[in-house]
Symmetry: D2
Subunit: 331 residues, 4 copies
Amino acid sequence: MNSFGRNFRITSFGESHGVGIGVVIDGCPPRMDLDIQDIQPFLDRRRPGTSLLTSSRKEEDKIEILSGIFEGKTTGAPIALLVRNLDQQSKDYEEFREKFRPGHADLTWQEKYGIRDHRGGGRSSGRETIGRVAAGAVAVKFLSAQGISITGKILAVHGKTDPAEIQKEILRAKESGDSVGGIVEITARGCPSGLGDPVFGKLDALIASAMMGIGAVKGVEIGDGFAVAGMFGSENNDPLTKDGFSSNHAGGILGGISSGQDIVVRIAVKPTPSIEKTQKTRDIHGNTTEISVKGRHDPCIVPRIVPVAEAMIALVLIDCVLEREKYQKIP
Amino acid sequence: MNSFGRNFRITSFGESHGVGIGVVIDGCPPRMDLDIQDIQPFLDRRRPGTSLLTSSRKEEDKIEILSGIFEGKTTGAPIALLVRNLDQQSKDYEEFREKFRPGHADLTWQEKYGIRDHRGGGRSSGRETIGRVAAGAVAVKFLSAQGISITGKILAVHGKTDPAEIQKEILRAKESGDSVGGIVEITARGCPSGLGDPVFGKLDALIASAMMGIGAVKGVEIGDGFAVAGMFGSENNDPLTKDGFSSNHAGGILGGISSGQDIVVRIAVKPTPSIEKTQKTRDIHGNTTEISVKGRHDPCIVPRIVPVAEAMIALVLIDCVLEREKYQKIP
Amino acid sequence: MNSFGRNFRITSFGESHGVGIGVVIDGCPPRMDLDIQDIQPFLDRRRPGTSLLTSSRKEEDKIEILSGIFEGKTTGAPIALLVRNLDQQSKDYEEFREKFRPGHADLTWQEKYGIRDHRGGGRSSGRETIGRVAAGAVAVKFLSAQGISITGKILAVHGKTDPAEIQKEILRAKESGDSVGGIVEITARGCPSGLGDPVFGKLDALIASAMMGIGAVKGVEIGDGFAVAGMFGSENNDPLTKDGFSSNHAGGILGGISSGQDIVVRIAVKPTPSIEKTQKTRDIHGNTTEISVKGRHDPCIVPRIVPVAEAMIALVLIDCVLEREKYQKIP
Amino acid sequence: MNSFGRNFRITSFGESHGVGIGVVIDGCPPRMDLDIQDIQPFLDRRRPGTSLLTSSRKEEDKIEILSGIFEGKTTGAPIALLVRNLDQQSKDYEEFREKFRPGHADLTWQEKYGIRDHRGGGRSSGRETIGRVAAGAVAVKFLSAQGISITGKILAVHGKTDPAEIQKEILRAKESGDSVGGIVEITARGCPSGLGDPVFGKLDALIASAMMGIGAVKGVEIGDGFAVAGMFGSENNDPLTKDGFSSNHAGGILGGISSGQDIVVRIAVKPTPSIEKTQKTRDIHGNTTEISVKGRHDPCIVPRIVPVAEAMIALVLIDCVLEREKYQKIP
């Protein structure tokens, strides 16, 4: 499945070392101003090659709008967006045609489909998130007009919380041919109450699915998250007065439905599985072998996951906002 | 949305104090032996009134099969299951017609739909999970025949891990008119590789959605979960040899697809929001007021969430097993 | 698949000779007055045993509301409806356990699922339409409040158009152990423009699917229908003036989207396949044999299809009305 | 909605006078040989400018594969296909910015979305079917390997059935600034039994939706179609013997499920609404005006609908074949 969302539905396509990466948005509201400048800055934030801390792959990630816009406005037709790949160095990956990289989708893709594009992870590459970020930018534009904003930030990398220390930690990992993980927090402000459904389309379930659906994410929590396991009900409940809630342990969601408070989400990001350090692995013939994943890899994917996580939250929220419209004025 | 799943699709209905709770399963494979005895034991495990630690509501939760079975076998037709409510004491809830219980869906349901069945939480009650557990039982039967088993257990309640201490902790909370949360771990063994899709239908995303879609769950993690944030790639990657994986930090899922290892999931369960301790809240007229939620509530929902979480994992897995069939023999 | 609709989504269950027939409506707008009297009259119209022209099966078809209504109003929760079967005479069908009735789903169900409930067609019985009619009644109530009405009528039976002749034709077929087909026309009045999507969710495509999805329907046409094949564009186009359209050859739909004119649909209904006249058929052992389908069958299903076709049109229209809401006020 | 299908799901995008027309196929089986030569011939069949009988728009309609193929084989990743528009003459359409063309989606699109790309019909252009034909070509390749073939033919144009007379009829209409309609028949041979679901995903309902979802189609019938209205059951039923069916009045579908016989479908195609003859219409200011639709239009769309209808049938069939896989070997 390469689609996400019910109302603002995106369909993503493309591989790391193919022609490019794209996305089709189906269900974008009509009559909205939209041009490339609404989208490109979001791609620039997730683009590689911008610092020592990220992959040195040189990609401009220039977005092309293929459809859905007429004289600067959305028309209700699907919006197709495409970024062409420029800096594929497929030869770097020749070794991985026969060897499965630990911690990657190489083995499981092969076992599922019986065939695999080994170049840069193919469809399972982080480059796939270009489509999400591009579609997310359109969602962000819509949500902004509704007073909703989404901000992500790094809470910690490998146990460090200070930005300077985080930078040092990442460079140290890079130098030792290793990688590190971390934690990202995303906050959505200005959401109306009433987003999300009470049983299976719970807003928190949609968010959890969106977050865990980002490669490298191994945990999701909302509001107090795992800390609730050690709390009393009298601590965890958010008292309510005529002026609103007195606290936000719930992270803005009650019974699967937004309460109007800030929506607060944290995700755990694993260390990049591509490391130079030698690891044991298997080849496609079933033999044990060794592997050192050289090339242009991020020693820490945490910073580049921030815009992706923001985009996914935006996609969930726009979907719920449109869903809610159905029942607003009726009967 | 009251449906879950693409291939083994369940649709749930019913309220805590209405006629009953039911579920329709659409997509159950035909020619499978199935009768009430395959389902009832699962409902008995989640049923209230079985110990001092749970709600004293007296419900037999006897399941009735309304359709889909012919001479003891599934036919490919939808299987409708119904449990009638017996012990509704709606009067207990009269106070909550006008007051929103903190930590519940009362306020958000009202704001979303402009109307609310206040009796026992209506559709947002924990009783809604009867449908999930009943459908999950059918899934479990199917999965067992494929060699897949699912087991949940309590890891901790309010910081305690020893069963005796956990029991004491719950009783202590009950006596003080309070409640406590905890952590549950579910393990699925015997899964084939190839379950889950690489981009938006990732197995971990489906699991996250299923878990966070259970009321009271505020966090989900898979494999090492939040601990990955403090790890090196060289620690977190699972080395592979000709004999398989040497460790299981990934929790059985790589790139969104099952690897054949055990699938390991942990969830954080919040303290039951219904507590006798007096809390501040708002009434439907917008005034600040106080509330003490008396009645038949679990002081800790953790034990009763175990069968629900197992059921949801079973529903995710059967869905992925059927999805995978589509691409096995072709072309 | 036993569900229909995107926004007002119904899931149907039950068999002709099982416990009963039911339907779950997911997505009904909240705050709508609804009780049994809104639904029962629609079921009474499709019920058997009401005249010499229909099956003599005695079914009261009393509807029970299992969920979704609170103090006389919809709440946004799923509405489950159940009609219990009373007058099953399963023994009548014992012969068909081994013999496939021509023109029925007996053979194809067996080949698809490898198992079959032979009693009265099981899930493929016309009784399955109870769920559609019940859900359609809820849709009709909603649409009425929006000024939309739906009326079906018999255009012809076995070539006759006069009601008295139609009645004679049906009785004559019955006496000779045979059956006859006919044509039904359904008109929806008061629809706003803007229902339906321009490419794959075209209103006419949704209607065609809904109509051809009724057992016994073999043809669907909209507006001038098959007659367009013999027309010039200058005849078929509906001229437009400042006062609206001058004609309605299009049947109320242009480019897949309603135009505000009456929506006009005709369907071809095949003669009931259950006939007493002896026919050649095959048994489950692969032998050629003969069959005479005795029992309580309608010699002409056309009159009883009218309320079913109306219900299906109502289900399509409510779905499109809710879909349209999403894009009305935004941005 | 711009997607079609459950398992082999296509998402279409693009406008007549935008950058191009494209489609994303999600769910194509992996390990299938596929290259441009499997697709281009199908596009060449539907392409304009190939004879006096069709539009003179000069489009090469060269397909580009953007994703999903690796070393000549499908990988399980989505296949994105793009045809760039070359010969847009948008100025031809300037008049229609303000005037609604009768028989077109101009008015209804405007009323639905409040904005409209007037150039060549925008998204409602016949060029949109490029995506369907391209995706259909992939489906055809898959189905061929399963022994399934699909053939369409023109049965009649404006009442004529002889090819030479049909050609004359079309030229005569063209010369008089008018257009004509007709009937197309599509036959699918070699289908296994068991395709389609018994209630809402009936094969005939899916086909009806697919056919009526083609612009200009106003009627669909299967097997004997509308003729059943004048038949006796004893005529219409297909007798069965140990050697199979003795006739095929049903058109290959019983109870919504394929029987293994040829699937036979006929569609009514309306005369092209774009005609030079002067017609009354309305402008966007609400005034009555006149319009003569000059430019490069097909005087009869029937021949060019044949490959589109074949493609849509192929898309329905592949979807059902994949769906059927889920329940073949289990349990």
